[in-house]
């Protein structure tokens, strides 16, 4: 059975918005860091933070331990700040936003204008280095939820930003965290006050548009005692021959009895069939379950990027806190992914669940790397991990590297992993019932990913299924 190249699906979001942009000179230096800070009218303490990060970054070397080949990146050849040109320096409201931009987001399926807004979802749209608009602000303000860009949060709620920024992912954490600390641009800021269950799902949509630029956003979500929020994140970029860097930081904090559900559907441009171009997605995502019985869950569908290299993690500090990680990582063409999670159990009776599904097709490489660490203080900790891989084609690779460190004898830690291919029997069964081979594969793959998809919010779940189907169209053999 060989159904190669039956359809030529192209990357749907590969278009470029023809909009003039305002860029700082290429490269990175203390001056650029100061310029970015000045552009955003930042207070002195934030500039200091950026400079400390930058100086620390200069002392670091690019890490080598990862299981993906990262071609040397010339940091002097990247625009670290790019903003669509507009009459206004800051978008005060959606009326200030240029029509080209609004059209771009509409084309991406993210309507921002009043009459076309998605029901029940508030969106913060980030275009290159700036946030162009946040919807449903008034509705959220009524219940005290703050949802805005980081820049706005620095202006309006400096005490909150100052209290939490960089406490979850310090700039000294890793190479790209230090880089982000120095040059971070817009991202979303969310604060859910005590006892509030956020009435809408919050969502940020990231778009890289400018050529030779990088996106370095920063997201901070704080869930105060007893609050609850669903947060969604989506991303796309135009189709270009050169690689672009995306190095973001996401920090989550939950206090007593609070819960954050963070879902990502990542569909950055992944490069063409020969592996040319695509986004390098090097992101540090981490959540601290600070309060008792607090919960953080990460759900990710990783279907894009030339290289994905990230480990959304949970540090379970509060007694009885829970962390979860659900992931589907699909790679095809020449894509590389080294992704997984870290669950650090510190508090008593903490629980974590890891379910990871990796699918590799064609010449791609898919790695699950995960750490489960039970500290001596984590009495009664419980972890369950399952990571399954599926291989489609004989030139791809699937690797699993779990690290399990247990320092408390009352902990129960379980890990399971399997690797297999879609069996001919399964395909034959479906074919004999009238499915085409391609449809059969897509059905089986979706079934394989079911455990993860069912944890996604409805809109995302539908999108994820379609995305996987679309990605697999050419690779069935």
């Amino acid at each position: 059975m060989k159904i190669e190249e039956k359809l030529a699906t192209e990357y749907k979001y590969g278009f470029v918005t023809d909009i003039e942009s305002e860029e700082f000179p290429k490269g990175l230096s203390e001056d650029i860091v100061r310029l970015i800070s000045a552009k955003k009218n930042e207070p002195e303490w934030l500039l200091e933070y950026r400079l400390k990060s930058y100086r620390h970054w200069l002392t670091l070397e690019h890490p080598e331990w990862q299981y993906c080949k990262v071609p040397p990146i010339n940091f002097q050849d990247i625009y670290f700040y790019s903003k669509p040109k507009s009459k206004k320096d800051v978008y005060k409201s959606l009326e200030d936003v240029d029509t080209e931009l609004l059209e771009t987001f509409e084309k991406l399926g993210i309507p921002l204008t009043e009459q076309k807004r998605l029901m029940g979802v508030a969106v913060d749209a980030v275009f290159d280095s700036v946030s162009v608009g946040t919807t449903h602000k008034e509705e959220l303000e009524k219940v005290g939820v703050i949802f805005c860009s980081i820049q706005e949060a620095v202006e309006k709620h400096p005490e909150l930003v100052k209290k939490y920024l960089g406490t979850i992912v310090p700039y000294s954490d890793n190479y790209y965290a230090a880089l982000n600390g120095a040059v971070f641009s817009d991202g979303s800021f969310v604060y859910i006050p005590k006892g509030v269950k956020c009435p809408l799902d919050l969502s940020t949509y990231f778009r890289i548009n400018a050529k030779e630029s990088g996106q370095f956003e920063r997201t901070l979500v704080i869930a105060d005692e007893g609050s609850h929020v669903n947060y969604l994140e989506g991303c796309t970029a135009p189709q270009r021959d050169e690689n672009q860097l995306h190095a973001a930081i996401v920090e989550l904090v939950t206090l007593d009895n609070a819960e954050i559900k963070y879902s990502t559907v990542q569909n950055w441009y992944a490069g063409d069939k020969e592996g040319k171009g695509g986004i390098y997605n090097f992101v540090t995502k981490r959540g601290h379950c600070k309060g008792k019985n607090s919960k953080i869950s990460w759900t990710q569908v990783e279907a894009g990027s030339a290289i994905t290299w990230k480990y959304p993690s949970c540090v379970l500090i509060g007694e009885g806190s829970q962390g979860a990680f659900y992931s589907v990582a699909l790679t095809n063409h020449h894509m590389q992914a080294d992704t997984g999670t870290k669950m650090i159990h510190i508090g008593k009776n903490t629980k974590s669940t890891i379910i990871s599904k990796g699918i590799s097709a064609e010449k791609s490489q898919n790695v699950y790397r995960g750490l489960v660490k039970i500290m001596p203080s984590a009495t009664g900790a419980r972890n369950y991990s399952q990571c399954d891989s599926m291989l489609i084609g004989d030139q791809c690779a699937a690797n699993t590297f779990p690290y399990i460190d247990v320092k408390n004898n009352t902990a129960v830690v379980e890990h399971e992993a399997t690797t297999s291919k879609i069996s001919a029997d399964q395909i034959f069964y479906l074919q004999s019932r009238g499915f085409t081979a391609e449809k059969a594969v897509s059905l089986i793959v979706n079934g394989f990913c079911k455990d993860v998809f069912k944890t996604l919010p409805l809109e995302f779940s539908v999108e994820a299924v379609k995305l996987i189907e679309m990605k697999l169209e050419n690779s069935v053999g």
Partner: protein, 415 residues
């Protein structure tokens, strides 16, 4: 004993009776001096700092009675006894079984060594003790072969064991290490070549005293339809670092790796295995179990690498750790690297304490909790021993492991 002292020791050991051998040793001595304990893969020795273990090794003279090899013979085995790395017992005379000294085998160029760990160069610089065993084709050695190494002098011994199994031969080999309660290090390397259709069972038992360091590396090559069953058992010792490299070279090659580590007090056990599936239709199975008490540490790293041409491979791995104290640490790193699509691979890892449900089950049947815990822990450990297919070897090892389980852990005593 620091690096300089080790180099000095190796230098003293080089004699000039054979130029080839002394040249080989000098080359590696120089390399050791230059490179020290450096290691290609920084993660391979993440939990075990060889340099600090070697530095802490103190030497003291042995003042006990003279050890007689006769005490270590066992009529159920073809025994070969080494004392401080020197062959003492007469070699068994068995049809189809031949022994060659390492220096003679080196002169005949009948083996090649590889450098894949931080002590390789040092071991090669000390090359000389040990033995080469060859099993003639289509021969089955009924009695198991037993290699005993007893250390009476403090210092370092570096044995080399070469096992050559000619086509369709079969044998069970048991390696045992003992010492007279003195500080010392055994840095051993074993090479096992299994030709088509040959079956080798290889049990490597480390039973050192409180201050004993053991660093062993076993490299096995399995040919078409060959079978290799390796058991690494760390029963005691200050440090037990065991490496196993298993190369499944041709179709039908089958490898098994079973590990048991029992640690208490401040003991440190680190087992690292790599199974390379280089050919289609090769299969492997692996189980590693640890019982950890006191302040001890148990590390298991098991990598399974499946090459692109190795289709239809079936490979399974399981690591289970039983923690008996709240200070013991278990680190488990199962790793799968898969480059072929038509394979079935799985690994599992669990860490925990004895389950209350299981203890309750016994209690409901009239067995007191203390007794139940002992039975459960013994059952947990003995599963590995029961993987030994040769009956004589299995009985012997079972007695030794049972004894270790009984004396090592105060199971049942309430903590």
């Amino acid at each position: 004993m620091n690096r300089e002292a080790m180099a000095e020791l190796a230098k003293k050991n080089i004699d000039t009776s054979s130029k080839d051998l002394s040249d080989f040793k000098l080359t590696h001595l120089e390399l050791f001096k230059q490179k020290g304990f450096t290691q290609k893969d920084p993660e391979a020795y993440k939990f075990t700092n060889i340099a600090s273990f070697m530095d802490a090794l103190e030497t003291s003279p042995y003042e006990g009675d003279e050890i007689r090899f006769e005490n270590y013979l066992d009529q159920n085995f073809h025994s070969v006894v080494f004392i401080d790395g020197v062959l003492k017992s007469p070699l068994p005379i068995v049809a189809g079984l031949s022994f060659t000294s390492i220096s003679d085998a080196f002169a005949k160029k009948s083996f090649s060594l590889i450098e894949n760990n931080p002590l390789s160069h040092f071991h090669h610089a000390l090359l000389g003790s040990g033995i080469q065993i060859e099993i003639a084709s289509k021969t089955k050695i009924e009695k198991p072969i037993r290699l005993v190494n007893i250390v009476t002098r403090s210092g370092i011994t570096a044995p080399t064991i070469i096992i050559k199994a000619q086509p369709f031969s079969e044998a069970s080999i048991l390696e045992e290490n003992y010492d007279q309660a003195i500080a010392h290090a055994v840095i051993s390397e074993s090479y096992v070549h299994i030709e088509a259709g040959a079956i080798i069972e290889h049990i490597q038992l480390s039973h050192g005293s409180e201050s004993a360091l053991m660093h062993s590396t076993t490299q096995a090559y399995v040919g078409r339809d060959g079978k290799y069953n390796n058991l690494l058992l760390n029963l005691s010792g200050k440090l037990n670092r065991r490496n196993l490299g298993l190369e499944l070279l041709d179709s039908g090659a089958h490898g098994e790796s079973y590990n048991l580590y029992l640690t208490n007090k401040t003991e440190h056990s680190d087992i690292s295995t790599v199974i390379h599936h280089r050919a289609a239709d090769s299969t492997s199975n692996q189980i590693a179990k640890g019982i950890l008490d006191g302040d001890s540490k148990g590390i298991f790293t098991g990598k399974i690498h499946i090459y692109p041409q190795a289709q239809r491979v079936v490979s399974g791995q399981l690591n289970k750790n039983l923690l008996l104290s709240n200070k013991a640490q278990a680190h488990s790193q199962p790793q799968l690297e898969i480059f072929a699509d038509d394979v079935k691979c799985s690994h599992g890892s669990t860490t925990g304490q004895l389950s209350d449900d299981e203890v309750f089950y016994f209690m409901a049947r009239g067995i007191p909790a203390e007794k139940a815990k002992i039975l459960l822990a013994h059952g947990f450990g003995l599963e590995i021993v029961h993987k030994i297919s040769n009956k004589t070897s299995r009985q012997k090892v079972e007695n030794i492991v049972m004894e270790a389980l009984k004396t090592k852990f105060q199971l049942g005593a309430s903590k």
